[in-house]
């Protein structure tokens, strides 16, 4: 056992298990505070909470981009992580090459890769832009490209950090359809969302609510949406969606 025995990373059959996990940054800010969590396959999970509540840190922890400072992390497979800002995600010069990048790293057969890339470009409405320089893309197009470059990869767990940001309503629905397809295939998707309408209109099964680094709620969407206290904790009391919904 290593000298840092109070933080262990163990490979087991469990998709993800966190036991009393905390993550602190060099600034001593505690980003996650004693989080207990289990993630299973085929789930569509919404991750909600105010800015700075720990959502992104959770995603980075599951993707092994940050280490826990305390507690026990059990990972079957690391999560594939979509960065909050697509500019931090996209690395290749053209749209087509960006989508192909992940497959190239898997040493995929070129013919199969070509078919997968073309399919993803069409699914995300980027086929006509396939030879375009990524610098030419709008924010929404760049977001779609960042998502497209990930969803074809063979991960069993995805953490999408605000995938609906920068997207128009039609693109949001399109992305959500693709997320649903992943879930139908037994993949788990965890999605950070800031808008209550997405939680209600898209069929999320489970909500994780973070507040100041703590996991304050882990349960069904319906119970969450009916609780004024939980909505307030997420900062959703008074959201414009509820005003127009009436």
């Amino acid at each position: 056992m290593s000298e840092m025995s109070n933080r262990r990373i163990i490979q087991t059959d469990l998709l993800v298990g966190l036991k009393d996990v905390s993550v602190s940054y060099v600034s001593d800010k505690v980003a996650l505070n004693k989080v207990n969590l289990k993630i299973f396959s085929g789930e569509k999970i919404a991750v909600v909470g105010k800015n700075g509540s720990g959502k992104t840190t959770l995603g980075k922890l599951l993707a092994a981009l940050v280490e826990p400072s305390d507690g026990e992390v059990v990972i079957n497979q690391p999560a594939c992580y979509l960065f909050q800002n697509p500019e931090n995600q996209v690395v290749m010069p053209t749209v087509e090459r960006e989508v192909a990048f992940g497959f190239e790293n898997m040493a995929m057969d070129p013919k199969i890769m070509h078919e997968k890339v073309e399919g993803l470009l069409r699914a995300f409405g980027l086929f006509k832009k396939k030879s375009s320089n990524v610098e030419e893309l709008s924010g929404g197009q760049l977001q779609r490209l960042a998502i497209a470059s990930l969803v074809g990869l063979e991960y069993r767990l995805f953490f999408f950090d605000e995938p609906y940001a920068y997207l128009d309503p039609d693109s949001v629905r399109n992305v959500d359809d693709i997320l649903n397809d992943l879930v139908d295939d037994g993949v788990t998707v965890m999605v950070v969302i800031h808008r209550p309408q997405y939680l209600e209109k898209f069929n999320y099964q489970r909500v994780l609510l973070f507040d100041r680094g703590r996991l304050e709620y882990d349960g069904p969407v319906g119970n969450f949406m009916r609780s004024r206290k939980l909505l307030a904790m997420a900062g959703w009391n008074g959201d414009f969606y509820f005003k127009f919904k009436k």
Binding site: Y25, S27, G49, K50, N51, G52, T56, Q84, N85, E87, E136, L137, S138, G139, G140, Q141, Q143, R144, D161, E162, A165, Y166, L167, D168, P169, D170, S171, V172, H194, R195, P196, Q197, A234, G235, W236, G238, D239, F240, Y241, K243, F244
Partner: protein, 233 residues
């Protein structure tokens, strides 16, 4: 007075991909007001705002600001009146901490150090950034916090016209509600705001006028079926 007029305005990315062709448009005629641009990704909303901010000038046709050709405005004179918040906050935050970023906007203002500090602190409180974040550089903040910091750096200047590119992206609902109050207060103070957004409910709640940008056209949203389908109007 109409704030912006577009006359036979045409623009193409890299001179090749047409975005707007012979656009004629007058916006901001009921000064002060809050005007939203909505539309599909890639329709040219950011381009439109960038032109209005005098950040893009390789277009043909004319764009007038306060009845004067935008290209004839002297840079410093224009910047006293118009400021823009970019879509990615890190593109306009570069100091060692966000308090310094906000103070940078006031660098050439004729104010004492204490007055600048007070203005900066007030606007950081206004956007809901706690004091323990002020001494951090933007890359140590969460995405939403960085966006608030960039917003503060623009709001501190007290410009007549604010151009905001997707100001609600990445911010939580509480901050969005605060942004609504800020918009309304700015309008009451005589400022005009032009912003792009995909946030249907925010647009509906705060805007005096909504334009739909699509296929090279900019039309009042109430005349556009897709805008009604999206629930923008």
């Amino acid at each position: 007075m109409v704030i912006y007029s577009f006359k036979n305005f045409s623009y193409a990315y890299y001179g090749v991909t047409k975005v707007f062709e012979n656009l004629n448009l007058r916006i901001g005629s009921n000064n002060p007001q809050i005007v939203a641009f909505v539309g599909p990704s890639g329709s040219g909303k950011t381009t439109l705002l960038s032109v209005m901010a005098k950040l893009v000038e390789d277009y043909s046709g004319e764009v007038l600001f306060e009845e004067k050709n935008l290209k004839d405005w002297k840079e410093l004179e224009f910047r006293k009146k118009v400021l823009m918040l970019l879509q990615s906050p890190e593109k306009q935050l570069f100091e060692e901490n966000i308090l310094a970023d906000v103070l940078y906007t006031l660098k050439y203002d004729n104010l004492t150090v204490e007055e600048k500090m007070l203005k900066a602190q007030r606007v950081l409180e206004l956007v809901g950034l706690p004091k323990d974040r002020w001494d951090k550089p933007y890359y140590r903040l969460s995405g939403g916090e960085a966006r608030k910091a960039a917003l503060a750096a623009v709001l501190v200047k007290d410009s007549e016209v604010l151009l905001l590119d997707e100001p609600t992206s990445g911010i939580d609902s509480e901050t969005r509600q605060e942004l609504y109050r800020i918009f309304k207060n700015l309008k009451r103070a005589g400022k005009s705001i032009f912003f792009s957004s995909h946030d249907v409910y925010f647009v509906k709640a705060v805007s005096d006028e909504v334009f739909f940008v699509d296929n090279g056209l900019v039309k009042p949203a109430e005349n556009v079926e897709k805008a009604r389908y999206w629930g923008v109007v």
